[in-house]
């Protein structure tokens, strides 16, 4: 092959030795095909001449004639490739090289990450930001990305929202495993320790089809750091202490790598906080105690490799004491009083209401590379999620028992093949098989099951491709099909069955009408066929501009909460009702982003439009009268919805030491038919940050950040309820958003070298410097208490 190539080059070289003007210039870069990293020291050979790329991977060849040339491009660890270029037509050309071996090395290029898709809006946060949030949560860290906000329950339960959508519409991939941790509940945070991630990428939409087709909101992809294939032993420890909550976290990892590709990695983290504090009072019972550990080992070779990974996560979270309310009158009083009912002295103790969640995740991955064809990867993963929720119940004896006890077990097998041998296109196809079982233990709880026992089966298949149309235009496209079957066994109270009108539509699924206590047992078996697809382009022009445009179609089958929820959720003080008639939702999302990046400054503006047919929403509809008074009833409903928004960011490097960053995001969601705003849409927010850096002063970096969150002026109407206290109908301001607020945050860090391989990073963060009192529309406990007051965090990280 090589000899043949050389012969060709020689012949071509000879053939162009004719008399004409040879003053053409060819410039460009040699780039790693797999991760887009420019390759320094790559050689370009033609006509016995050799050119070497500089540190930016760029090259310039002068004195070419206006004919075709064959260039042999090669680089250490790369297979040499031959490109034929007609110099009468082209003056610039980027060469992409196969650089497989590079994957085995730790690639550390600041700000450069391999993208998940070419054409959709996405952004990655790296180790520096992840370390800053070591004692916080994934949802907190992701808010650094414009367009990502969070739905909170108190301080420690943080669910990411991507461009207005959250919950089951946001997929979370943890080390290539799709998290199955009961993401259907608003107060169920992702069961993930952020310290396990090396990078986190957010794809704002359903375009990364290999991970799943139902990501109507988007996909969060957490990846561990790669272990280099060399004899090495290194580690890292991060210790954080915070004044608010009087606690902190410690996270430590150690990595051993061998020249032959074997590696071993172990990591552990511990987080402990007592009651957090608002500026004016203690937020009683808001402590958290989180434990996480993971271990991975495997072998990374060029031809094949495998890795095994296991992680354990356990968290105990207190729910604000004053949020446990008796009835709708208590809720009205809380909304009006502006201060929580229960303010106790600070404590580390976590009492009811509280959650206790354990998540086990194990996986085995195997891959094999086929010469000049591609890479085959197969993975099996296992997850078990055990959730307990403890409420304040009528007797001590009952309070010791959980009110919710759900165990969700998931087995998944995926297998895919990536055809990446061709320089100008790559294809990836794969399949997925999944089985999931949910068991609700009523013997333990003595409370009606909020979510029933069920079995779920998923089968999926996808094909995605990326095509380099020319050096500045890339197109990507994909299609995916998913089949979901849910097979549940659920007890309905006869009265609820009638009230929902199920007798007319679903009488055939009843398998036992004579269950004790006026109940019946139904066996709903529902099948869903989901098609998703995407197509988009990435166009680079004028040196530092990039334009991306993407269309994504996604379908999502309803989750168990949307179908089956049925009962009083004590800790939320509401009755939640699903509906068996709920069908899958379909999203058409168009997104465009235009960006310019250079050393001086850069910006990105990214508008999008998401049209969701049969959008599933949960909203307050009225009250249910009980012996404890009236409880708000929340029901699931479907409607056509549209979300229009824009995310924008800009940075300016004013000088060597001063940089400013500016982020803005806006989303407007409403029902298409009647213009009623959607519930829980993030308010517009505007963040400005000024950063000072000085390398000479131990890599000093200091920044002051201003966060302005507007008031959400678009919200669905409040509901009118009967107040037993007032003995009349009153407006329950359950949807009214709180006022706008402005926060100032400060962050600084320095780096000290302690030895040849050891460095120490010390950071200080002050959040809410002005100790501002504020409430957040996207906090479900906003009716009861203010958000956190000032917080000092000291962070020490040691790399060794």
């Amino acid at each position: 092959m090589k000899r043949f190539t050389l012969a060709c080059v020689f012949l071509l070289g000879v053939s162009i030795l004719s008399a004409q003007d040879c003053d053409k210039t060819l410039t460009g870069q040699v780039i790693d095909f797999h991760d887009g990293v420019p390759l320094k020291g790559a050689t370009i050979t033609f006509n016995n001449k050799t050119i070497v790329t500089d540190s930016n991977g760029t090259y310039t060849i002068n004195g070419l004639c206006a004919v075709s040339y064959a260039f042999t491009v090669s680089h250490v660890n790369c297979n040499a490739q031959v490109f034929t270029i007609d110099m009468s037509k082209v003056a610039t050309k980027d060469f992409y090289l196969e650089h497989h071996l590079n994957e085995l090395q730790e690639v550390k290029v600041a700000g450069k990450n391999r993208r998940e898709t070419s054409s959709s809006q996405e952004q990655t946060i790296n180790t520096d930001i992840i370390e800053k949030y070591s004692s916080a949560s994934l949802g907190d860290a992701l808010r650094e990305i414009p367009g990502v906000s969070s739905l909170n329950t108190g301080t420690t339960i943080v669910k990411p929202i991507i461009q207005g959508l959250s919950g089951s519409r946001v997929l979370i991939m943890n080390n290539n495993v799709r998290m199955q941790d009961m993401e259907w509940g608003d107060e169920h945070a992702p069961n993930i320790d952020i310290n396990t991630a090396g990078s986190v990428t957010v794809v704002k939409g359903a375009s990364a089809l290999q991970y799943g087709g139902d990501a109507i909101g988007g996909i969060i992809i957490m990846k561990p750091k790669r272990v280099p294939a060399k004899d090495t032993l290194f580690g890292k420890t991060i210790i954080t202490g915070a004044t608010n909550g009087r606690g902190g976290s410690i996270s430590s990892e150690i990595v051993k790598g061998y020249e032959n590709g074997w590696f071993l990695k172990a990591q552990g983290a511990l987080k402990r906080f007592g009651d957090f504090e608002a500026p004016d009072y203690v937020l009683s019972n808001t402590g958290v105690f989180e434990k996480g550990a993971s271990i991975a080992f495997g072998v990374n070779k060029f031809e094949y490799g495998f890795d095994a990974f296991y992680s354990f996560y356990d968290t105990e979270i207190g729910i604000l004491a004053s949020s446990h309310i008796g009835n709708v009158d208590d809720l009205i009083r809380s909304i009006n009083s502006g201060q929580p009912d229960i303010i106790r002295d600070f404590t580390y103790d976590i009492s009811n209401p509280r959650q206790e969640v354990t998540h086990h995740l194990g996986k085995v991955t195997y891959y094999k590379r086929f010469e000049e064809l591609g890479k085959w990867t197969t993975q099996y993963d296992f997850q078990q999620n055990q959730r307990f929720e403890f409420d304040i119940r009528r007797t001590d004896e009952l309070s010791r028992r959980p009110s919710i006890d759900l165990e969700l077990t998931t087995h998944t097998l995926t297998s895919d093949f990536e055809f990446d041998a061709k320089p100008n296109y790559s294809l990836k196809g794969g399949i997925l098989l999944r089985y999931q079982e949910n068991v609700a233990d009523i013997a333990e709880t003595g409370v009606r099951r909020l979510i029933p026992d069920y079995d779920k089966y998923d089968i999926g298949a996808f094909l995605t491709g990326e095509f380099d149309i020319n050096e500045s235009l890339i197109m990507d496209a994909g299609i995916r099909y998913d089949f979901n079957r849910i097979d549940a066994k659920k007890f309905y109270q006869d009265s609820r069955w009638d009230e929902r009108g199920y007798e007319t539509d679903f009488s055939d699924i009843v398998i036992d009408r004579e269950v004790r206590n006026s109940q019946l047992l139904a066996n709903p078996v529902f099948d869903y066929h989901n098609i998703s697809s995407t197509v988009g382009i990435q166009y680079s022009f004028k040196e530092d501009y990039q334009l991306r445009a993407n269309y994504a179609l996604a379908q999502r089958a309803p989750n168990p909460a949307e179908l089956f929820s049925d009962g009083l959720h004590h800790s939320a003080a509401r009755i939640e009702l699903g509906d068996l008639r709920i069908d899958q939702e379909t999203s058409h999302k168009l997104s465009v982003s235009l960006q310019k990046n250079n050393e001086k400054w850069g910006w990105e503006i990214a508008p999008y439009a998401n049209f969701v047919n049969d959008y599933i929403l949960l909203e307050p509809t009225g009250t249910n009268l009980t012996i404890r008074g009236a409880f708000p009833v929340w029901e699931y409903r479907q409607t056509d919805a549209q979300l229009l928004g824009v995310d924008a960011k800009m940075y300016v490097n004013w000088s060597k030491h001063w940089q400013t960053d500016h982020n803005f995001s806006l989303v407007k969601g409403k029902e298409t038919d009647n213009d009623i705003p959607l519930i829980n849409m993030p308010a517009p927010n505007f963040t400005n940050k000024i950063t000072f850096t000085k390398k000479d002063w131990f890599n000093l970096q200091a920044s002051l950040e201003s966060q302005y969150t507007f008031r959400q002026n678009e919200f669905p109407p409040n509901i009118i309820v009967f107040s037993p206290d007032a003995q009349e109908d009153v407006e329950l301001e359950i949807n009214t958003p709180p006022d706008a607020y402005h926060l100032l945050n400060f962050d600084t860090d320095m780096e000290f070298e302690l030895g040849q391989k050891t460095d120490l990073n010390v950071g200080l963060t002050i959040n809410n410097i002005l100790n501002t009192n504020y409430r957040n529309y996207l906090n479900r406990l906003r009716y009861f208490a203010d958000e956190l007051g000032r917080n000092f965090l000291l962070r020490i990280s040691i790399n060794y």
Partner: protein
């Protein structure tokens, strides 16, 4: 080849998995522990009883609205001996919820609240009247409110009587042992208001 082998193993595995899962067994309907379907407050002056009854056929989870009924009318200037009974009739035999409240008498207290018609209420029991789950009598003497007295005044007409049960409250807080709920705190188990009249 490898792929084919793998898939074969997987499908076999899936088959085993699904056939092992207890698809054919129906789940246990279980027992709901905290349901109160019936609350009956019986007041008597020795001759004519007044009965305040609350009935919620499907408990607090169910959609059926509770039905309150009041039989009898209070007489002016009369003292009534009252007692409250809580039941769960969805169980067979009917569960007497009073028992679990008596067993944790030191953690529970009923409040009978009214500002109408000069009606006054006094507790007529104390924790030491009850025994805990191990059969040992409480020694403390705070009121519980399962037994109480209600005294009407000269005033006649219509009024309201609110009945509240709280647990984990501050029984020692000011006024609580006299039936004032203001400082009681705790969590509510019952909060229901009856319409009454005095003739």
């Amino acid at each position: 080849m490898n792929l084919r082998k793998f898939l074969a193993v997987f499908f076999l595995g899936a088959l085993v998995l699904t056939s092992c899962s207890d698809d054919d067994d129906n789940p246990d309907p279980g027992t709901e522990e905290e349901v109160i379907t019936t609350m009956t407050v019986t007041l008597t002056d020795g001759t004519d009883p007044v009965v305040l009854n609350f009935f919620d056929a499907d408990g607090e989870n169910g959609p059926i609205d509770p039905v309150p009924t009041v039989t009898g009318v209070f007489k002016a200037n009369t003292t009534y001996e009252g007692t409250i009974l809580l039941l769960n009739t969805t169980e067979d035999p009917t569960e007497i919820v009073n028992e679990e409240i008596e067993a944790e008498a030191d953690e529970h207290q009923f409040f009978y609240l009214t500002e109408d018609l000069g009606i006054t209420i006094a507790y007529d029991d104390m924790e030491s009247d009850y025994v805990n789950s191990e059969g040992v009598a409480f020694t403390s003497e705070n009121p519980v409110g399962i037994d109480f007295t209600l005294t009407t005044s000269n005033d006649t007409g219509n009024g309201q009587l609110r009945i509240v049960l709280r647990h984990e409250l501050s029984k020692d807080a000011a006024g609580v042992s006299d039936g004032d709920i203001t400082n009681a705190g705790g969590s509510p188990d019952i909060d229901w208001t009856f319409n009454i009249s005095v003739e």
